[in-house]
């Protein structure tokens, strides 16, 4: 798949914002006050900023954005439509939550709004992941690893930003470091698990795609290898533009190293480092997001759409 930069940025930026918002809401409803209200308000503001920036970027992907408002129409069948509906609801709830935190309201209303914001964040994350996981035509996406990765990576980047806030504002940042460390390790394992699972050879083949088993083969043979003789078009088409993108194996390895080093390595050093380096705080968050941009770019670049078989690929 062609890595569409607007969507890569959207999923990473909104993901970090949604993870941060969910974690902040959880911390906020925790019985003992872990984070003072001004810090919670800043966190909500940052989260909403990341979410809105991501949503704005996703609109750039549309070839006819003037019809974007229609995306709310197919809530009952389309994960993209569900994502749009829940994201719009989340922005409204998030703004209410932000107002309550700025006003430092400490009552049941704030708790309920925080719970709703957390639930909506998770819902939007699941919807985003399911847009990809529901596509049976793309083997590398149509797997349980996809929603698992999206949820964990969003919470990992969110927890790094949350730890930054905690180091600046909380009296004791240690629980936040443990939280980030635990999520980060799980997320890294899940991402490696995804890459490991994608190495299997169970994809569809060109022979399967054109029906060699059903009889499309030379007379008297039962099995035969197929190859493309001529693709039928002389220059690039929508299909080759959208699905023809290929990544050399050694480049894929390089991207994975970059994704892990920037996305996990550098932020992890900062997670285990002692408190006090506030200046580096957002650098770690920035590195994490840059690493996840590489990871998400790879998620697209390594996905092999089924139509590639008809363009001559031996397998998906």
């Amino acid at each position: 798949m062609k890595p569409s930069l607007s969507i890569v940025f959207f999923t990473v930026s909104s993901g970090a914002g949604l993870g941060l918002l969910a974690l902040i809401a959880l911390v906020d409803v925790w019985p003992s006050r872990l984070l003072p209200s001004p810090a919670v308000a800043r966190g909500i503001g940052l989260a909403l900023g990341l979410i809105v920036a991501g949503l704005a970027s996703s609109a750039l992907h549309l070839a006819r954005p003037s019809n974007a408002w229609r995306a709310f129409a197919r809530f009952r069948s389309s994960w993209l439509s569900r994502e749009a509906v829940f994201a719009a609801a989340l922005i409204v709830v998030g703004l209410i939550y932000l107002a309550l935190a700025i006003a430092a309201v400490e009552d049941a209303l704030r708790v309920s709004v925080a719970v709703i914001a957390c639930a909506l964040s998770w819902t939007v994350l699941v919807c985003t992941a399911m847009i990809y996981a529901s596509l049976k035509a793309i083997r590398q996406w149509h797997t349980h690893w996809t929603p698992l990765n999206y949820l964990l990576l969003a919470h990992w980047s969110g927890s790094v930003l949350l730890l930054g806030l905690a180091r600046l504002f909380a009296s004791d940042a240690a629980p936040f470091a443990w939280l980030a460390g635990g999520i980060g390790l799980t997320a890294l394992l899940a991402k490696i698990g995804y890459w490991w699972a994608m190495n299997d050879a169970s994809g569809l083949t060109l022979e399967r795609a054109i029906g060699v088993r059903e009889g499309v083969r030379p007379p008297g043979m039962t099995v035969a290898q197929a190859r493309l003789l001529d693709v039928g078009h002389s220059h690039r088409t929508f299909l080759t533009d959208e699905f023809g993108f290929s990544l050399a194996r050694r480049h894929a390895t390089l991207w994975r190293v970059v994704a892990i080093a920037l996305g996990f390595g550098l932020p992890a050093m900062w997670v285990v480092a002692p408190a006090g380096n506030g200046g580096l705080m957002f650098a770690a968050g920035l590195f994490c997001i840059m690493g996840l941009l590489a990871e998400r770019w790879l998620f697209f670049a390594e996905a092999r759409h089924t139509v590639r078989l008809y363009h001559g690929d031996a397998k998906t």
Partner: protein
Amino acid sequence: MTPDGSGKPLWRVIKVKLGLVIDLDTCVGCHACAVACKEWNDGSPVSRPLSDYQPFGAEPSGVWFNRVRHYEVGDYPASKTINFPMSCMHCADADCVTVCPTGASYKREDGIVLVDQDKCMGCNLCAWACPYGARELDRSSGTMKKCTLCVDRINDERLPEEERQPACVLACPTHARFFGDFDDPDSQVSRLTAERGGFGLLPELGFAPVNRYLPPREPKPLTGLEDARSLLERGLASLASPLIRR
């Protein structure tokens, strides 16, 4: 949404299932179907135009609903060339319709999958969902376009009845394409599919594609070959001998 109010998915209650049969035995890969498709649909009100990019430039390209590819199956000399036209399969369980967030993509009661050009926002998700590459985004209009099964031909009562067929079917010089209702067991497409072992592409993906492909026939062993050969040789000899003598 469902005509009988049963709450079942639309495709389970519809009683017409229009689609194409493509005979891989007789298709010669001439691309006439693809060109006729382009020609008809470029002027059709359903989804026109089928934009071209650099039509007279160095790298001409554009939107096509039907593309013909060519494969070699088996290794020479035991190999066979397969010409393989592909257009929308009008799947019974079309994921392109399921994933569409705007409602632009829809399935008619006769089984035809269409895109409402006024509603599409060009998000590409339906093209990602389609394993057959049936959908192409038109960069000029910013909307998704796809085979309409010539919905504006097959229902046009001003046309003589034999012409109420998709342009690709009418254009095919080897009669390798057939159009009809797969829900009717007596239709030509249903009978051809049954007689010739017609199959749908990649049924394991679960979209229940409607179009059927007929595999190449097993060649019949030739009888009287020796007679034919000696006849041919004698004929050639009598033709060639005056020339050779001279």
